[in-house]
């Protein structure tokens, strides 16, 4: 981490960048927040990069691109896909960003730690970016506990897209491939269900939705200035799930709007306060796109046309695909 801080200080000092976009140390062991740093002192004192820095900073660069001068932004390998996609859609300015690709060994989800019955967390060790801790030691009001690093990882890290940064000016730190699950296993499980089981499954999950819009607002693909669900221009504005239809409508349309653009960064599932596995929608589209039109990874580059803005003459027919398995 010190290497990252030192490099940031250098770039700040030599005027390459006007500010640094990184993570600010939290007041609890697991809640650093995305933040700007403008001084070396602030960086030295308050910058943190550890296992809890799951937040994808790409989307902050939409606003960052409007600021005077360059912003140094730290992107993990998976975040770089989002950044590329944002470049493709002209939502961020490549020239305004100085990208340091930082290493990642899997990000942690405090909810997963708490789900193991651990409460009253006072400190956590093993989450540091240095070292290769396989276990987290959690000091709590109710005694010390341990959790395997793997068991505390975010869902997305189990299906990690890889260690490579897709775009960067320089790279610092080693990454670890944490993939130990099949990306589409969950989707396939649902696909194999009977229609009534599928319906019951999603009904149960989506009934938890409180329409806080966290999934949408954190999503780098949901970068609309005004979402159709907020806009009064159509009859589509919704503020609450007044009926169970609306939560489905919202999530289906949202997934459709990001289809072919979603990089599968997993932020939606990470931030959902009700723990809804929202990535299952996006991943279904990704799986279908891969199967119907050939493998496609949004954000792997900043130029190619997406699968929904291109076609081939021999594409599969809609009627046929709905019933395939």
């Amino acid at each position: 981490m010190q290497e990252i801080i030192n490099r940031a200080k250098e770039l700040l000092a030599d005027g390459t960048v006007a500010r640094v976009l990184g993570w600010r140390i939290g007041d609890l062991p697991y809640n650093p927040e995305p933040s700007y740093f403008e001084t070396a002192e602030d960086l030295e004192k308050n910058f943190v990069y550890d296992g809890f820095c799951g937040a994808n900073l790409s989307k902050y660069m939409i606003e960052g691109s409007k600021l005077e001068g360059k912003t140094l932004v730290f992107l993990k390998p998976c975040d770089t896909y989002s950044f590329n996609q944002l470049i493709k859609e002209n939502r961020v300015d490549r020239e305004k960003a100085y990208i340091i690709g930082v290493g990642c060994k899997g990000k942690l989800d405090v909810e997963k730690i708490k789900a193991q019955g651990i409460k009253g967390i006072l400190s956590i060790s093993g989450a540091e970016i240095e070292g290769d801790a396989e276990t987290l030691t959690v000091n709590t009001l109710y005694g010390d506990k341990t959790v395997a690093y793997k068991d505390a990882m975010l869902e997305r890290c189990h299906v990690c897209k890889g260690k490579e940064h897709m775009i960067f000016d320089e790279e610092i730190g080693e990454s670890k491939d944490t993939k130990d699950a099949d990306r589409f296993a969950e989707v396939e499980k649902i696909e194999a269900m009977k229609p009534e089981e599928k319906f019951a499954y999603f009904q149960k999950e989506l009934s938890k939705c409180i329409r806080c819009n966290a999934c949408r607002n954190v999503c780098p693909a949901c970068s609309c200035r005004k979402c159709v669900f907020d806009s009064t221009k159509f009859d589509s504005a919704q503020k609450a799930n007044a009926d169970s239809f609306e939560e489905k409508m919202f999530h289906i349309i949202r997934a459709f709007h990001v289809a072919g653009r979603c990089t599968d960064c997993g932020e939606c599932s990470r931030v959902c306060p009700q723990g809804i596995p929202l990535h299952l929608f996006n991943r279904k589209f990704i799986k279908d796109i891969d199967e119907f039109y050939g493998d496609y990874q949004a954000g792997a580059d900043a130029e190619s046309k997406g699968p929904l803005t291109s076609f081939t003459f021999g594409d599969v027919e809609p009627g046929v695909t709905g019933g395939r398995r």
């Binding site: 696909e191 009926d243 239809f245 409508m249 289906i252 459709f256 929904l308 594409d315 009627g319 695909t321």
Partner: protein, 147 residues
Amino acid sequence: MSITANEEFRPKIVAFCCNWCSYAGADLAGSSRLTYPADVKIIRVPCSCRVNPMFILRAFEKGADGVIMCGCHPGDCHYSTGNYYARRRMALLFSMLDYIGVEHGRTRVEWVSAAEGVKFSQTMNEFVAKITSLGKNVRLEDLRCRK
């Protein structure tokens, strides 16, 4: 307004037809007096690529039991490429609806040319039969819209 006194299920079906092929195909079905059930109501759109998934979900929300989209055959689009985009969009949308448990068969895409009055009427007959067998759409309706 009640049409028939008996309790027989009459599905509500919305058909989106592109102006250049399928709407003309429906016209031809009409002028050839090829019947299909009155449950089908056609909405004219310039091209199948004008059909927003939102329209389809909206129809279900408001109580439609089936939605069908018709366009020019791939390669014959009046705007050259519109139906290719529509085809991708609908392939993905329908697959998603299937995935969340909406009965497969409530949605359909059919390419109908201006000369295919017979196909249009056949398709509609089949589709109405299919929807009738599936029964009322309860998985995607907004209960507030029930009378």
